[in-house]
């Protein structure tokens, strides 16, 4: 395992301090916790937004704390959901008297730990709602199991729900907006190499020199299929068509997309995928209104990429394009 670290046990703690060093104008660390909160909290009376999850997905989630997105981000150990006391600390940091929306990626661990935290907040009189993000279409949805996973599309939930909260929408409205984002969101990723969980010290899986894993999870969980390496064109088309089918996107519909690196895949490759994406949307007569390209939800140093599509309506489009100012995503009005 080759990583620029000091000790496995202190990675998350050190990284949170480092985030504050790099972004003091955006972030502060809530004393004694693994929570990053806005250094300038939003006005009282506005709904707070908290997201969180295991570390190793940087810039998620601390990178999205700031104007127009999150109020606090709660970190867990690498790839391990945060504990309820930490989530609760995040809720307290984010609460400005109008309740707090928790953005939770649909993993058993995250769901349960956030649920326990909600029980704590409830006892404290802080109103909370949850939006469960389950955009990963690689996993079949089912009521009888855990359902689908939440992956990179989560960032669209942060952005759009965050903009609504910033505009002063109340808790239930922000939740409704967040839920409709999720209902119109689909993502799927692939891995070219494994990542190495620091506490584990070795790659989570092995891929042959000409293999890729389709439908990979963002924690190195196995995907749905191991296939021979595809060209950028084939890969983009394969992900794209899957997402379009899943969302039943039809002629003339408006979409936003995210071309996300799992970590090691460089921007030059994402740009190639983005080019294909633009052509594909043209062919299927979709109106591609926005592309987020870069590292948004990573899996440590895994090579690979994910594609996310979000169906837009006027409300989501307006909120997506609203100004935001965070370390990892800034929308500047032109």
């Amino acid at each position: 395992m080759k990583k620029i670290i000091d000790a496995v046990e202190t990675i998350v703690d050190q990284a949170l301090d480092g985030m504050v060093v790099a972004y003091p104008e955006y972030l502060q660390r809530v004393e004694g916790t693994l929570v990053l909160a806005r250094s300038k909290p939003k006005e009282t009376g506005k709904v707070g937004l908290v997201s969180g999850g295991g570390s190793g997905h940087e810039p998620a989630h601390g990178g999205y704390v700031g104007y127009g997105m999150l109020d606090a981000a709660v970190a867990g150990e690498v790839f391990t959901s945060p504990t309820p006391d930490q989530v609760y600390a995040g809720i307290k940091a984010a609460d400005r008297g109008a309740g707090v929306l928790l953005v939770v990626k649909n993993y058993t661990g995250d769901v349960m730990n956030f649920d326990i935290a909600r029980e704590l907040a409830d006892a404290d009189g802080i109103a909370t709602e949850v939006v469960l993000v389950n955009d990963d279409v690689a996993v079949q949805d089912s009521l009888y199991t855990t359902g689908r996973r939440g992956i990179a599309g989560t960032v669209f939930v942060h952005k759009i729900a965050g903009a609504a909260a910033e505009e002063g929408a109340d808790l239930s409205s922000v939740k409704v907006i967040a839920d409709t984002v999720v209902a119109n969101l689909a993502s799927m990723g692939c891995a070219l190499t494994s990542c190495t969980v620091p506490a584990n010290g070795k790659p989570t899986f092995e891929l042959g020199a000409n293999e890729m894993e389709m439908g990979i999870g963002i924690h190195g969980e196995p995907g749905i299929e191991r296939v021979p390496m595809m060209s950028a064109s084939e890969l983009t088309a394969s992900l794209y068509h899957r997402l379009v089918a899943e969302l039943s996107l039809g002629d003339g519909e408006r979409i936003a997309a995210m071309v996300n690196s799992m970590g090691a895949t460089p921007a030059i490759e994402l740009a190639i995928m983005s080019g294909h994406l633009a052509n594909l949307t043209k062919s299927s007569k979709l109106s591609l209104e926005k592309v987020l390209m870069g590292e948004f939800m990573t899996s440590l140093e895994m090579a690979g990429a994910s594609l996310t599509l979000l169906r837009l309506d006027q409300q989501r489009s307006t909120l997506l394009n609203a100004a935001c100012d965070t370390p990892a995503l800034k929308v500047v009005q032109h």
Binding site: E9, G54, G109, M112, Q140, T146, N200, P222
Partner: protein
């Protein structure tokens, strides 16, 4: 491995009528040891159908439990169990952290504010623990989770408790059965937890959480054996 009991002693049927704080702490210390020894195994099992951290998670949390024991001498079994629950809840993380943590808090509320509890009271508290897990996690037998060990183990303990109190034979047998129930998860399709995303591809791999659950019953057996010897 400490507390090794000479083989011939195993044959005599001795029971533990009650569990006191010493035994309770010994049980958790032993569990911590077993988890630490199996950390890699658990991570590797989790790598196959999850995210490769179950060993790290449990080991981190149980290490903290041992630290908490060393730092705090609590006044009662209830307080000891609460210490375990709070510590696991705040240090394990993941699905297992929420389950073990909230489960042990329920366990603690079922224990008296006293230094010792009857064996049957201990079993009842364990029942509260398992019930909390069921409620929180919604998993049933066959879902390929730790419940595939806890649920049948609870039945076996309840069936035995009227007849024998903390018998070494019972807990040793239970530990063996627990291992078997855990092994049996290999053939299941995961329906709860991270492995559920794999569907049919989860077949052929033992569920890591069931292995750590079985290790807990191993720790219980080791503790009873040591206490009665």
């Amino acid at each position: 491995m400490p507390h090794v009991i000479p083989r011939h002693l195993k044959l005599c049927s001795i029971s533990m009528a009650s569990m006191d704080q010493v035994a309770f702490r010994q049980l958790w210390r032993r569990f911590a040891e077993l988890i630490h020894e199996n950390r890699e195994v658990l991570n590797d099992l989790d790598a196959a159908i999850g995210d490769a951290d179950h060993g790290s998670n449990m080991d981190r949390g149980l290490g903290k439990v041992v630290e908490a024991f060393n730092a705090n001498s609590e006044a009662s079994l209830h307080a000891d169990a609460k210490l375990v629950g709070m510590t696991l809840m705040s240090t394990v993380g993941g699905a297992s952290g929420a389950l073990w943590g909230s489960g042990m808090l329920k366990f603690s509320t079922a224990l008296p504010d006293a230094a010792v509890v009857e064996w049957s009271g201990f079993i009842d508290a364990l029942g509260a623990f398992v019930e909390a897990l069921s409620k929180r996690g919604q998993a049933v037998v066959g879902d390929k989770t730790m419940m595939d060990v806890f649920l049948p183990a609870m039945t076996e303990l309840r069936d035995s408790v009227d007849v024998q109190e903390g018998s070494e034979e019972i807990v040793v047998a239970l530990a063996e059965h627990a291992k078997g129930w855990s092994d049996a998860t290999r053939d299941f399709v995961a329906r709860r937890g991270r492995a559920a995303y794999l569907g049919e591809r989860s077949i052929g791999h033992i569920d890591p959480g069931s292995v750590s659950a079985a290790l807990w019953f191993q720790a219980l057996a080791d503790t009873v054996r040591d206490q009665v010897s």
